[in-house]
């Protein structure tokens, strides 16, 4: 279970921007992903976190070679896949799969669920008709659906169930790496919890490695072993989950933490979230990309781009002032009241007993 399953070095994706109707003049490029490096260990979950437009989904697609990188390399299970093509790449695809964000758009509405799950098996030539049928039933069971669901169409399912189908489809060909691209962002909070629990169970049972894309750090805290925070195409902080949540070193990470709505109606001081949107990646600010929204920015940040440097074991940050930032602790929501805590404990107890009976 040791060693890196995925090693990404200086990965970049630049989209050219052209202007003009007849003579398409190149006027610049959007640096969607701009020199990203990370490793994903076997059986581990690495979360990529950031706002829309920070390049996290582009990174995920680059890793799977669904789009071609402009520079950099991706090693999957020890082989460089950036130059690979044709049949070897197709064979490799079996080992790396993706779960998409939108469970409404990522399933073909005209295919029955059984056919949706059968298709990847067919494409990769896995087993004869009977074996595949058995495998579909097994997959449905794996994600908590019933065998008769195979004959239904996607519109007959709720969002949470559709996401289960998406997960089953990804697992059909027994991958070792699953890229989860915001798998729970489109779901209700209660359903989110079901899917997060399912993904964790499956990881344990099947020894999967997850690259988990999300914009919500609270969900990430429950899923990930390590977290990488991205801003405008670059990783600004990466580290083990506990270290990153206990001592977030980058001002942007702190902003993301402050922005999470907390289930505490008495939280007195509302944390001010810096105004403004993500700057355009076509024309990113010079120096540190984040300086336009950063409360700690100095003149140096406006001219000199910081590089990622290691602060503690495996915890790296790209900020000139990482050492001198004030102490930060996540604003603690008040603990649940005794009555609420007691009832939640009762709920949890019954839940566990029901699961034990069912299991």
């Amino acid at each position: 279970m040791s060693g890196a399953i995925l090693e990404v070095t200086n990965l970049a994706k630049h989209y050219p921007v052209r202007k003009g109707i007849v003579r398409r003049k190149l006027v610049g490029s959007v640096r969607a992903v701009d020199g990203v490096s990370f490793k994903l260990m076997r059986g581990e979950t690495l979360a990529l976190v950031g706002e829309s437009g920070c390049g996290k989904s582009t990174t995920a697609r680059l890793v799977l070679r669904l789009i071609e990188p402009s520079a950099g390399s991706v090693y999957f299970e020890g082989t460089d896949i950036t130059e690979m093509g044709g049949a070897p790449l197709r064979r490799l695809r079996r080992r790396m799969q993706i779960v998409f964000q939108d469970p409404f758009a990522s399933l073909n509405p005209r295919m029955q669920v059984g056919a949706i799950l059968d298709e990847p098996l067919l494409l990769h030539g896995m087993g004869d008709a009977d074996a595949r049928k058995a495998r579909v039933a097994q997959l449905l069971d794996l994600v908590g659906l019933a065998p008769y669901h195979a004959n239904r169409y996607p519109h007959e399912f709720s969002g949470g169930q559709r996401q289960r189908i998406g997960i089953a489809r990804a697992l059909a060909v027994e991958p070792s790496l699953v890229v989860c691209d915001e798998p729970v962002s489109a779901l209700d909070v209660s359903i989110q919890a079901q899917v997060v629990n399912l993904l964790k169970d499956l990881q344990q049972r099947l020894g999967l490695s997850y690259l988990f894309i999300a914009h919500d750090l609270a969900v990430v805290k429950h899923m990930a072993d390590r977290v990488a925070v991205m801003y405008l195409g670059r990783i600004v902080e990466i580290g083990p989950k506990d270290a990153l949540f206990a001592t977030p070193r980058h001002p942007y990470t702190r902003v993301l933490l402050d922005a999470i709505p907390r289930p505490d109606p008495r939280r007195a001081e509302r944390v001010a979230v810096p105004g403004g949107d993500l700057p355009s990646p076509l024309n990113p600010p010079p120096g540190c990309h984040f300086h336009t929204r950063c409360a700690f920015a100095t003149d140096r940040c406006k001219t000199e781009a910081p590089s990622l440097r290691e602060m503690a074991d495996g915890h790296a940050v790209s900020c000139h002032h990482a050492e001198s930032l004030p102490e930060y602790t996540v604003a603690q929501a008040a603990a649940s009241s005794p009555a609420a805590a007691q009832r939640l404990a009762l709920y949890a107890g019954r839940r566990a007993r029901a699961a034990a009976v069912a299991g």
Binding site: E51, V189, F245, V255, L256, D264, Q332, R343, L346, R351
Partner: protein
């Protein structure tokens, strides 16, 4: 609680659809109220009827749906009794509404300014074009859109998701409504943008004293915003309490399930406390308490009698015979 009569009070509202399987009630006997300057949070999963409730208030229920019973008392008049013209004068003028998807609520082929001015023109036939334009710029300023005059001539696709939602808020507020209905206003947005929008709504409420009905599935958002909370399940209100009590003294098992589902930053739980299963289809409602098939506290008697709200404390009502759950005798489950 507060002495002033509520701005909006809904009594026994029922909205029904006739479909192939029979007559179904998307909203089934809901009573709620909200006062000026206050925020009522309505919480529940998709399909629990919370959006249909807001459409019923606005009388925008899509056919074949019909509001068949109840009253919607808004500032002394029953909205359900008004003729179409009178209702149009209230809609968008005295009651504003913002929707979940800022991407689809704006017309992509008109500029932001055109759409803002069109909304204002519907309720103001006398002002000059220039006056309305100035008002539109002021409106965008108010929702903190930088360089508002320039943005006015841009198309929706040129704006980010957060900006578009601000435009929607500006549009809803352009006629200074007394009541704003916000249906999942931040669900499609990044957490940072969500925090900005919620902050904006709080400030605007403080300035104008409007009432807000906030519809959401996220109790975290409710905690940030709501003075009073109604938890809805399968077309009915199952718990009503103040914003503080819903967290300190949650009574209904469904409320407990929603609370347990929230991933919390300060806790390290190996598993989230999910609610298994899904909201039942309105044509296949379970017998008795509608939550009983998903409820970990359910007993045989829960399948026999339907539950109605009963008071359990000051300004606190719950529709569960077992509440508070710690009084249940522990039997072998």
């Amino acid at each position: 609680m507060n002495e002033t009569p509520p701005l909006l009070s809904i009594e026994g509202l029922r909205t029904q659809f006739r479909i192939a399987q029979g007559l179904i009630s998307a909203v089934d006997g809901v009573s709620l109220s909200v006062a000026r300057g206050r925020t009522l949070g309505i919480v529940g999963e998709s399909g629990c009827g919370k959006s249909m409730l807001s459409l019923s208030i606005m009388r925008l229920v899509p056919p074949p749906g019909r509001t068949t019973e109840g009253r919607v008392m808004f500032d002394g008049t029953d909205l359900l009794g008004l003729d179409a013209a009178a209702m149009r004068r209230i809609r968008g003028n005295r009651i504003g509404m913002i929707f979940q998807e800022p991407m689809t609520s704006l017309n992509p082929s008109f500029t932001v300014g055109d759409q803002l001015i069109e909304a204002m023109r519907a309720h103001d036939r006398t002002s000059s074009k220039e006056a309305l334009r100035a008002k539109a710029i002021a409106g965008l300023d108010r929702v903190r859109i930088p360089s508002a005059a320039r943005r006015l001539d841009e198309y929706p696709h040129q704006l980010s998701g957060g900006m578009r939602q601000r435009v929607m808020i500006a549009m809803a507020l352009s006629c200074d409504p007394d009541l704003l209905i916000a249906d999942e206003p931040t669900t499609a947005l990044d957490v940072t943008v969500q925090a900005q929008i919620l902050d904006l709504l709080r400030d605007l409420q403080e300035q104008s004293g409007m009432a807000i009905i906030l519809i959401t599935h996220d109790l975290g958002v409710v905690a940030e915003m709501a003075d009073e909370v109604a938890v809805m399940y399968a077309g009915q209100v199952v718990e009503r309490a103040t914003g503080v009590d819903i967290f300190d003294d949650p009574q209904h098992p469904y409320t407990l399930g929603l609370l347990g589902s929230i991933p919390r930053l300060e806790e390290d739980r190996p598993r989230l406390l999910a609610i298994e299963g899904a909201v039942p289809a309105p044509f296949a409602l379970p017998q008795g308490c509608r939550f009983n098939p998903r409820c970990v506290f359910a007993t045989p008697s829960c399948t026999e009698t339907a539950m109605t709200l009963r008071p359990i404390g000051a300004a606190h009502e719950v529709a569960c015979q077992h509440a508070p759950v710690e009084t249940m005798t522990e039997r072998a489950a």
